[in-house]
Symmetry: C3
Subunit: 173 residues, 3 copies
C-alpha cells in the first residue's frame, strides 16, 4: 500500500492472456480487489465467455458490473489500498458506441478519472488494428476509436504491457 497511484495498461489480442496477466498482478495484494466488468451477457456466447472469465479469476475479487458507466464505477472503486481491474476498455467503448454516445467524450472522462487515481488501477484493453482493413464502416470507425483510446491511455499510464500468448512485454514503465 502506498500513496503513489499506479496506473497500468495491459494490451493484447483476443485470448492473449491479458486478463489473466492483469489478475495475476493483484495476487499478493492485501487490500480490497475490485473487478469492474464491462461485458454484458447479451447472448449465450457472451454469457459463456463471462462465466469462463469469472471462473478463471481466483477468489477474493469483488465484481462490479459497468457496461457503460465505467467512469463513475472506477471513481467509486479506487482507493489508496485498493487494486482495481477494469476488464475491458474495448468492450466498454463498443457499448458506448452502440448506445450512440460520444466515445471521445467518454475517453476524455476516463482520462480525467485516471488523473485522480489512487491505489492501483489496471486497465485491460484490446489491440484491434493489426488485421486487414475491415469491410464495414462501423468496424473501421470502431478500430479508430479503440486505437486512439489506447494511445491516450498509454500516455496517461505509468506502465504499459503488451501480452502475447500469455507472455508480457513491457512497452513503458
Amino acid at each position: 500500500m502506498t500513496d503513489i497511484p499506479r496506473r497500468i495498461l495491459v494490451l493484447g489480442g483476443a485470448r492473449s492472456g491479458k486478463s489473466r496477466h492483469a489478475e495475476a498482478r493483484g495476487a499478493g495484494h492485501r487490500g480490497p480487489k475490485r473487478y469492474i466488468a464491462t461485458a454484458e451477457a447479451g447472448d449465450e456466447e457472451m454469457a459463456a465467455r463471462i462465466a469462463a472469465h469469472r471462473a478463471d479469476r481466483g477468489a477474493g475479487w469483488e465484481t462490479i458490473e459497468a457496461p457503460r458507466d465505467l467512469v463513475s464505477a472506477l471513481r467509486a472503486a479506487m482507493a489508496a489500498d485498493a487494486f482495481v481491474l477494469v476488464d475491458c476498455v474495448t468492450v466498454w467503448l463498443s457499448n458506448v458506441m452502440l448506445a450512440e454516445e460520444d466515445p471521445k467524450a467518454a475517453v476524455a472522462a476516463l482520462l480525467d478519472v485516471l488523473e485522480e487515481a489512487r491505489g492501483t488501477v489496471v486497465l485491460v484493453s484490446n489491440e484491434v488494428g493489426l488485421g486487414i482493413v475491415p469491410d464495414n464502416a462501423l468496424a473501421r470507425r470502431f478500430r479508430d476509436v479503440a486505437g486512439r483510446a489506447n494511445q491516450q491511455l498509454a500516455a496517461a499510464c505509468d506502465e504499459v504491457v503488451f501480452v502475447a500468448a500469455g507472455l508480457p512485454l513491457t512497452l513503458k514503465g
Copy 2:
C-alpha cells in the same frame, strides 16, 4: 546435440517471416532435420502456398505431411539428434476443427508429446487475435481456440519468439 530437449514456439502473423525464422534456426544442425507440414493442398491457392514454402526451404529437410495427425507424426519424428519443425499449429487446429474433432483434446495431446520432447522441436504458430472481432461465429471460435493453444504452448516451451517483418523478438527464454 544434447540430452536436454529444446522446445521453441515461433509466433507471428501471416507473411511475417516466422517459417523462415524457424527454418533458419536449424541451419547449423548436423543431425536429421524433419519438417512436419500441416497444410493440405485442398485448392490451387493453397497448393501454390505450399509449393512456395517448400521452395523457400533449403535442401536437407525430410518432409512429413500431417494435416490432422500431428501428434503421432511429432512423436515419431522427435529424436535426441533431430531438429523437428512443425509448420504450423494454426493450420493443424483449423483442420482438426473442420473434421469436427475436439480441439481442446487435440491441444492436450500435443502438450503431452511436448512433455516427452527429445532434441529440438520448433512449433510455428499464427497470432490471429489482433484484428477486429470477426463477423462469423466459427471465426470467433477459431480465434479463441488458437489463442488459448498459443498460451498453453508458450507455457510449455523453453523459448518463445514473436516474429514481425522477419525480425525476431524474444518473449521468453
Copy 3:
C-alpha cells in the same frame, strides 16, 4: 546532417500512433522535411482521414502527393540534408494493386531507391497479418504482398520500430 544515410521502417497497426512517431523523429531536424503522402482522397471518409493527418503534423513539412509513383517521388525528395517521411507503404501497395500493376516489381523498385538513400528516409507501414484469415481472396493476396514487402523493407532498413498504443519497440537497429 551526415553523409551516412539512415533508413527507418516504422511498423504498426491502424491508429497505433506510427505516423505520429515517424513525424516526431523529424522534430529536431534542421534541413528540409518532406512528407510523401500516398493516400488519395477518393471518398469523404478518406478525405477526412487525410485532413486529420495533415492537422496532426506540425508546420515545417513540405507535402508531396504520390499515390502510385512513390519511387520517383522518393528519389527526387531524398537529399543529404533532408528528412523524408513516406506515409504509408501499405496504402501505396494497395493503390498499385488496384491499378493492376505488379506489386513485386514495385517493391523491388522501392528497394533499389533505398539502396541509393541519402539523408534520412522514414517509411511508415501497416502490419496487417495478425487477424483472422480474411474471407476474400483479394484481401488474402494483399495481406501476403504487404507482409512480404515489410520483410524486405525491414531487411533493407538500418532501424525497424514497431509502434503499439503510441509506444515504440525497437526490432532492429
